[in-house]
Point group: C2
Chain length 295, copies 2
């Protein structure tokens, strides 16, 4: 990572963290436990990729950080709620996340369930406060976020993932899971940033394409790295390893075709940014940061 | 119940059910299981009190049923999500509700968790689609619903209830639980109906007062009936029974004072409706239906 990008990210993380701290009720607010639980997961060391992409998209459209801040914090609250619920015993049953005990390990299952529920509500409370622009109302932004959060995207992807466990999925299903669980919220993050900045419709479309391509490419690269790292680590033949893997892009279409697909999507993400000219600089940098891995 | 009110309720339930059926993805929509699970709980025989109150409030303010319908369905989705999560094993662990197996008994815990999550998202997707009026934007309605759903009201009341289990609570805490868990969503239901009908600010305030007073009175009457029914059933002295009860209004302030409080609140709810004149007819009828019990 360039020193330039590093200092950009550091500054943006601090900006987002300060806003989240203002927007979430203080830990002393009654009922105290729920606010402690919400803050435990919200301030557990997240990289704030979604809010930073949201802010960068707003700037790419000539908007202000201030107007994009509600949406930026909203997508982080929504992301955090989904992690808390994913970690619950009835879901992935994870004890640790980023080196910190998960919400239910510290506060119990009931409180973690409720902390996730409250963070989802908070995400809509925040995005609804975005100042209206000429082209976009805060209600249209709520609609965008709610559809992404609902049964056809985020929750739907989680369901398809759960139901696909232990089975070899058709590529189409795996793509649906990756797009729904990861790419949809990335796309919404940049679209909401653009909408807060009064983006023209072709800019919103470009941000959508950028977010979907970046999200899917990121997930495919993750799949590739999982397989190649496993192969090296276990010293087994790649073919055998692929056969025993859970559904991943390399397992379903092979390593070479997966790399081609990741390249194609990365290129698509970059092309989508052309409409922004030099204002798309930080979105370019973020995409490079997310996608330039040795795969 | 009068034949008049009975036919009114029957007609309104059908109206709300038809709208919900249109707004929720069909059971065949992928991923199929989540939509079946959402529909299982949404169509499990609810009385639709909140949406009917929402529609009645819109009419009291001279508005149309059509414009209030998004908010009406939104409050029912929010209510249903909260029931699904309340019934989960880590919460109240209930197997049955209204004679039907709870969502997690039919679809498993993970799917019930996700069905609740998706219904919360859907409630915001719906309310955000309310047509804008002169005085109220759909974003303001989202804000109203999100605050009611969040850590200071619905979720907050649930937390206080959980934490108060097995302890004798101060009256102030019990009132907080009743107001947060029951009254806040009733108040939001009528306020949102009013907002969809371009209600003046004093009308919105009157609907708020009506909803809070009705919700709290309803809950106190429930508490009273629990105690008096128990006393009769067990044949124990009321004093002993009160002492062993979990925190209820009669346990904390005695039966007579509880009845006085319920009377006072019922009167307050009726007075709040005066501003609507004859247009408040069905809100009056609904309040009578909810509060005219022999307590």
């Amino acid at each position: 990572m360039s020193a330039d990008l590093k200092s950009y990210l550091t500054q943006r993380v601090a900006f987002v963290d300060a806003a989240l701290d203002r927007f979430v009720p203080a830990a002393e607010t009654r009922p105290v436990t729920i606010h402690k639980a919400m803050r435990h997961s919200l301030f557990a060391g997240g990289k704030r990729l979604r809010p930073i992409l949201c802010l960068a998209a707003a700037e790419a459209c000539g908007g202000s950080l201030e107007n994009a801040l509600y949406a930026a914090c909203a997508v982080e609250c929504l992301h955090t709620y989904s992690l808390i619920h994913d970690d619950l015993p009835c879901m992935d049953d994870d004890d640790m996340r980023r080196g910190v005990p998960t919400c239910h390990k510290v506060y119990g299952e009931a409180m973690a369930l409720l902390a996730g529920d409250a963070l989802q509500a908070l995400s809509f409370e925040l995005v609804a406060q975005t100042p209206v622009t000429h082209r976009h109302s805060p209600a249209a932004m709520v609609l965008e976020l709610a559809r992404t959060a609902g049964s056809l995207h985020l929750v739907g992807g989680q369901v398809a993932d759960l139901e696909g466990e232990g089975r070899k999925l058709p590529l189409e299903d795996l793509r649906y899971i990756h797009e729904s669980k990861t790419a949809a919220l990335l796309a919404s993050s940049v679209k909401l940033g653009g909408m807060s900045a009064d983006a023209q419709l072709d800019q919103v479309q470009a941000l959508h394409d950028f977010g979907m391509a970046t999200g899917l490419a990121f997930q495919i690269i993750d799949d590739i790295l999982d397989v190649t790292q496993t192969t090296e680590k276990l010293g087994k033949s790649a073919g055998k390893d692929l056969a025993s893997e859970k559904s991943t892009y390399p397992a379903l279409m092979g390593l070479d075709a997966s790399r081609d697909e990741a390249h194609r999507l990365t290129e698509k993400a970059r092309q989508a940014l052309e409409v922004f000219g030099p204002n798309g600089y930080w979105l370019h940098q973020m995409a490079d940061y997310l996608l330039k891995r040795d795969y």
